[in-house]
């Protein structure tokens, strides 16, 4: 039962988390052949190329969603429905995730975890210094930010890469527009929602945030931004929960000197992204067995706990105890109890990558071009989605 596993978790922390899965797999008698490829783009491209080349890896990390769908469409992926049936995945997975992990009613991917994207980390001391509370709404946030700025603290630590800008934008979208609006925009690409005043409000808010980042933001890596926030030179960072890894590495227990909260919002929502493994359409029995074993291991509750604690995410299974997790994770798991709060990230999850990529481009363009008005931003957004469809 040899499985070649292609993934993009090459850094120390990620690798350590993946080790939990690896160890469990080996304990069950599997042989794990590791093929790391740094960078999600590179890795996904490598998978596709190897599929076309006729030598796909047995198991590979992939984004579930439209991209995987298309591979499945062409018969390039195998399913693990047997394991899913046996493991009753339908019952334990959040429905949204279960939906995208399937193609033609069969599971073609085994989700590993849930990362939340709409987190807001903040430096407690910095807030105290500027005498502001943790804001609950975006108008509050803007007031607070002004105070912070006046106190000489950069309000938002932002790494100016398109995906980081998207996270900020989506947080605002969710916060200003509410989760229904979010779903309309991203899941249905609803014309009316896109043209609505709410959307204009979103763009206005985002435009207002432009002045709260420092000059060095563009191109900055997210972990450097996190560092600014930890040091207190910046107050807030809008980032996924993987940022907790940086905190831990810096010796900070999440929830102490650095607090975590969901980004300001009208109603509760949790923008999920999912790391998942997908399976090639191997024909030989040994590989099939290995894939099945892998699927079982991934969904194994113990593995889920061990892995996710290490990774900073929360288990994809809704039925595991949150006892051993940190406060942020507890908050996340609590939030996700409400299925309405389960939202999909626009990045590589619910949307075809052509659209999500184009959206990223539009957001980045709007964010970086300070002369662009909210109206123009909205128009650009609409036009981009229309042409990428």
């Amino acid at each position: 039962q040899t499985a070649e596993v292609l993934h993009w978790w090459t850094s120390g922390g990620e690798s350590a988390a993946l080790d939990k899965v690896r160890a469990a797999f080996k304990a069950k008698g599997g042989t794990w052949k590791d093929t790391p490829v740094a960078g999600g783009d590179n890795a996904r491209a490598a998978v596709v190329n190897r599929m076309i080349g006729g030598k796909p890896p047995t198991v590979f990390m992939f984004s579930i969603g439209k991209q995987l769908d298309e591979l499945a469409e062409q018969g390039l992926v195998g399913d693990v429905q047997d394991a899913a049936t046996a493991g009753k995945w339908d019952a334990v997975l959040p429905p949204l995730i279960a939906k995208v992990a399937k193609h033609d009613g069969k599971y073609v991917a085994a989700p590993l975890n849930i990362h939340g994207e709409n987190w807001m980390f903040y430096n407690v001391a910095a807030l105290k210094k500027a005498k502001v509370e943790v804001p609950k709404t975006w108008p509050e946030f803007i007031t607070a930010a002004k105070a912070l700025k006046a106190a000489g603290i950069t309000p938002i630590a932002l790494g100016g890469e398109p995906w980081q800008e998207r996270i900020l934008f989506n947080s605002v979208l969710l916060g200003v527009g509410g989760r229904d609006h979010y779903v309309k925009v991203y899941s249905q690409l609803d014309e009316a929602a896109l043209r609505s005043d709410t959307m204009l409000e979103v763009f206005k808010t985002v435009a207002a945030l432009r002045e709260f980042v420092d000059e060095g933001s563009p191109g900055r890596k997210w972990n450097i931004a996190a560092n600014m926030m930890m040091k207190g030179t910046a107050a807030f960072q809008f980032m996924g929960d993987w940022a907790k890894g940086e905190l831990v590495a810096a010796g900070i227990e999440p929830g102490t000197t650095v607090g975590c909260a969901l980004a300001p919002a009208k109603d509760k929502g949790y923008i999920m992204t999912v790391d998942a493994f997908a399976f090639s359409n191997a024909k030989d029995k040994a590989s099939r067995e290995a894939q099945k074993l892998m699927a079982n291991i991934i969904m194994d509750p113990a593995v889920q706990v061990a892995f996710n604690k290490s990774k900073g995410s929360i288990p994809v299974r809704t039925d595991v105890s949150d006892a051993s997790f940190d406060v942020c994770a507890k908050l996340a798991m609590e939030t996700l109890k409400d299925t309405k709060a389960q939202l999909a990230s626009s990045g590589l999850f619910g949307l075809p990558s052509s659209i999500s990529g184009a959206i990223d481009d539009a957001i980045s363009q709007f964010w970086n071009n300070r002369t662009m008005t909210p109206e123009q931003g909205r128009a650009l957004f609409i036009k981009t989605i229309a042409s990428a469809r």
């Binding site: 090459t10 850094s11 120390g12 990620e14 993946l18 960078g39 190329n49 076309i52």
Partner: protein, 281 residues
């Protein structure tokens, strides 16, 4: 006069510093410890030089699950580069020779067609290339990778040799034909020894290009045949966690080492080869 000389040397020395500085900084950084890097300036010399990062990069750094550094991929790179180098230079030399010294009726058209290939970015035709290599049953194997390199090197090497052979007197070919040497014998005994300077240029450049290639290595290699540039990218390119700059720089320098050595020791050949007509001028 004296004053002019002074200016000349000042210019040259400042240019030298500008050119060498990035490399020197990398080397110096690779010799520092992480603490020193965090607290010190990029330009400061290492206080306590240590080769630890180099050792780790060579054989201890973790990429994914395995912690064996880049030494294994280093060997892979050589396995790929050597045959690719000889085949591509050989094929290019033969093609250049046939195109310039033999009157093949469609030679000019073919040469023009090949030249256009010099400008086609390999990324653009990656897809069909994968399909072709798959159909040949070579995908993911070293021969497949070698073939890809030969294909993408053809235009450049052919250009080099064609320009050189263009300047070789036709009489030499005639003399050899009268001596009873055939197409290949002339190539082997007469033209190849003659083109050694150009050969050196082609070898140096092709070695650099193939060794430094990342995209083709990423696309056409299998995990077993991964070249060192891909490993380097895996080592350096991860987004999460603190960057171990000393390790990254040591790995980067290690990866570049073979080509750097080639340039250090054959720079003279390079200039001579170019002067011998490798590139028209």
């Amino acid at each position: 006069m004296r004053y002019q000389r002074l200016v000349l040397y000042l210019l040259l020395i400042s240019a030298t510093l500008a050119m060498a500085a990035p490399i020197l900084i990398m080397i110096s950084t690779s010799l520092k410890s992480m603490d020193e890097i965090r607290n010190g300036s990029l330009f400061a010399l290492p206080q306590a030089p240590t080769l630890a990062a180099w050792g780790k990069a060579w054989s201890g750094a973790c990429i994914g699950a395995s912690c064996e550094g880049i030494s294994g991929q280093f060997a892979n790179s050589f396995v790929i580069v050597l045959p690719a180098l000889f085949l591509s230079v050989g094929l290019g030399a033969l093609t250049g020779y046939a195109l310039s010294l033999w009157r093949v009726s469609y030679a000019n058209i073919l040469f023009g067609a090949i030249l256009i290939g010099l400008f086609i970015p390999p990324q653009v035709t990656l897809y069909p290339m994968i399909v072709m290599i798959r159909e040949l049953g070579l995908f993911g194997s070293v021969p497949g990778l070698v073939l890809v390199h030969v294909i993408w090197g053809l235009a450049f090497v052919t250009l080099l040799f064609r320009n050189f052979f263009q300047s070789v007197p036709q009489d030499l070919l005639k003399a050899a034909r009268i001596d009873g040497a055939g197409f290949l014998a002339i190539f082997w005994y007469v033209m190849l020894p003659l083109s050694l300077p150009v050969f050196a240029v082609a070898m140096i450049l092709q070695f650099t290009y193939i060794w430094n290639d990342f995209l083709l290595g990423l696309t056409f290699s299998s995990p077993e045949s991964q070249p060192v540039t891909v490993a380097l990218n895996n080592l350096v390119g991860s987004q999460f966690g603190e960057q171990e700059y000393n390790l990254n720089m040591a790995a980067t320098m290690l990866t570049a080492l073979p080509t750097v050595l080639v340039y250090l020791f054959s720079g003279r050949l390079f200039v001579r080869g170019i002067a011998a007509g490798a590139v028209k001028g």
